[in-house]
């Protein structure tokens, strides 16, 4: 197709009216062009159409005709293969546990065959990214042999010189798969002329994949364009150093590495950092540009209870967003007493708390965080369990002290009487609140603790039998939240989700 420009007939615009039609001659007829059948469309247009379908739908077009056989494989720059697609198709019914294992095993082999086949068809085609999520990978085989098919997938990604690579073996049953990322010698020993093909990598995410420290170091040293690195759930990670020169690294996550002993981070351009897990001494050195920090596990606890251990970096950095993922059960009550003041977080604007706590535990600890953050204007708290008035009452004192014009978002609101008390107290203490968002989404309705409570009463009383019964549906919770509206002052907005 050509676009012809007619310079000999140059016109200048003489009217402001846009796309005004001017008939110049009368030979123009609407059907002047030969009819386009879909096969006449250029391949890139067909690929554009196929790209807008799901992978399954696009794959089905391969039987239309020979022309369509491989078209769908060109659809996206990034190949995303997820075993969820195999499991979601058809319900998995089984008569007993053995039968269940058998059926899962069949699906597992089906997924491996599927990945192998797609990768085989992609030989010879360009590829920007490869994502493989395999939640039903078999945990450590009895023979102790490496699953060579996964090695092949990694090798494939290397051959393709992908920019984005993700292996996610985060297991659906919570087990650790014990798959170890091949070492560099192994990657390079396939044939004589192999070179390390991850040189253009921008993003590397490994979840549930064991990767040895020296392999990570090799990647860091050999991938100058790396912008994102995530290592989550690697059990062989021990002493990790993420230090400059890493001119492009902006996002770093090192989480759930159970046996990590030390971590050193010193990256001038780093913007966002997540560390969850063991309470090792956090090791930030040069991170002048860090603005988002997420801490979880023992480390989050340490941030609150032993702030002096973290002051070396929390003083310096221009932190705008801080998120803490906390499992409250693991917090010791003793830590509350004689706790030193937190260093001031002068630039902090947004604080997020994701708390897993059982009823009756105090959330008092985070008042110190609010006190330490004079510029805070957004505060989100997500509680996975029922809110309890007593926990949040104490926390609210800090709002009063600040008179903040905060936006508050509460997630996991189910409308217990304690929830209601909390909101009413919130309004009393902090009348200048701009918005209160109440999100009623909660696992609570599915967990049906009221069933458990009835059962438990007959045996030993447990936590759940002490718990007040909340509404049994989300709609009911919304209705309860709706009733709060009358208590709200006109300038505070209530948003219910």
């Amino acid at each position: 197709m050509d676009i012809v420009t007619c310079s000999e007939q140059q016109h200048t615009a003489s009217s402001d009216s846009q796309h005004r039609k001017r008939k110049r001659n009368h030979k123009g007829v609407d059907d002047a062009l030969s009819p386009v059948v879909i096969d006449n469309l250029p391949d890139d247009v067909l690929i554009a159409i196929l790209s807008r379908m799901s992978r399954k739908e696009a794959a089905r077009t391969s039987v239309l005709s020979r022309k369509w056989r491989y078209l769908w494989l060109f659809t996206s720059g990034t190949l995303e293969l997820d075993d969820k697609s195999i499991y979601s198709s058809g319900t998995l019914e089984f008569v007993n546990y053995k039968d269940k294992l058998n059926k899962i095993d069949i699906k597992r082999r089906k997924f491996i065959a599927y990945v192998n086949r797609i990768l085989e068809l992609h030989q010879g085609l360009g590829l920007d990214g490869l994502i493989i999520r395999f939640a039903h990978l078999r945990v450590r085989s009895l023979s102790g042999r490496r699953p060579s098919y996964i090695d092949n997938w990694i090798y494939f990604a290397m051959q393709k010189e992908v920019k984005m690579f993700e292996l996610n073996f985060s297991m659906s049953n919570g087990y650790h798969p014990y798959y170890e990322f091949p070492n560099v010698d192994m990657l390079l020993s396939r044939s004589n002329d192999v070179k390390f093909g991850f040189g253009s990598l921008k993003s590397l995410r490994l979840v549930g994949v064991d990767i040895k420290d020296e392999v990570v170091q090799y990647f860091l040293a050999s991938c100058p364009y790396l912008e994102q690195l995530c290592i989550r759930g690697s059990y062989v990670t021990k002493n990790l150093k993420v230090v400059d020169p890493l001119p492009n690294l902006k996002v770093l996550e090192i989480s759930d590495c159970r046996f990590i002993y030390s971590l050193e981070v010193s990256v001038v351009n780093l913007v966002s950092c997540t560390y969850e897990g063991r309470g090792i001494i956090l090791p930030f050195k040069e991170i002048p540009n860090l603005s988002e920090l997420t801490l979880g596990g023992d480390c989050a606890q340490s941030f609150i209870y032993e702030p002096y251990k973290h002051s070396s970096y929390s003083f310096q950095i221009q932190l705008v967003k801080l998120a803490l993922n906390i499992q409250w059960e693991r917090f010791s009550r003793d830590g509350l007493n004689g706790r030193p003041e937190l260093p001031r977080l002068y630039s902090l604007k947004r604080l997020e708390l994701n708390v897993k706590s059982s009823v009756g535990r105090s959330l008092h600890f985070f008042t110190s965080l609010i006190k330490a953050s004079p510029l805070l204007n957004e505060f989100r708290i997500k509680n996975y369990e029922c809110y309890s008035g007593s926990l949040l009452d104490q926390a609210l004192g800090s709002f009063k002290a600040h008179q903040l014009s905060l936006s508050v978002k509460m997630s996991g609101y189910i409308g217990c009487s304690t929830d209601k008390t909390f909101v009413l107290r919130l309004l009393k203490i902090a009348p200048s609140l701009e918005t209160v968002t109440i999100d009623t989404e909660s696992e609570y309705y599915e967990q049906k603790p009221w069933d458990c409570a009835t059962r438990c009463k007959e045996m030993d009383p447990c936590m759940c039998s002490l718990q007040e019964t909340g509404p049994r549906t989300r709609i009911e919770a919304k209705k309860r939240a709706e009733q709060l509206k009358t208590s709200f002052p006109s300038k505070t907005m209530l948003v219910i989700m």
């Binding site: 007619c6 140059q10 016109h11 200048t12 554009a48 089905r60 391969s62």
Partner: protein, 167 residues
Amino acid sequence: MVTTDEKGPLTAKKKSVIIRSCDGDEFLVSESAAVLSTSLKKILEEKEDRLIHLSDIDNKTLAMVIAYLSTHADDGLSDDLKRSFDQEFVSGKEFDVLKYLVLATDTLQVTCLCYTVAKKMADIMKNKLVEWVRREFDIQNDYTPEAEAEIRRLDAWAWDDRQLEDD
């Protein structure tokens, strides 16, 4: 009257170009709308042409593309309004019309419209029986029955789960 040799950000906004379809009809388009097409932008950068002839886009299609470009070049419209315009733009259009449109967007390199139209075409094709697609879009099946069965077997994962429609 705006002359072509005036330059600068103020006058550039008001400048217009004339685009001629293959039927010979001419459309007056503001330059800010025209440059949303990568091809037209390139032409306008290279030459001072004010008349651009498109040898394979017909009246009907060109009018639609220009309506789209002008709407998207209008700074007074919010993104939400533009999005709902996009939805309305493709809704109810016949597959045939969409084919010419997608060809035109491919020629003119109007990426966002190409996405919108391709999405609509994909929506029409998905969840349909292979036979329906072949019939509707005039695709000649050049496989042998054995070859077709083999492909279905190889990609069995794509076929296992849903009821396909034939209307």
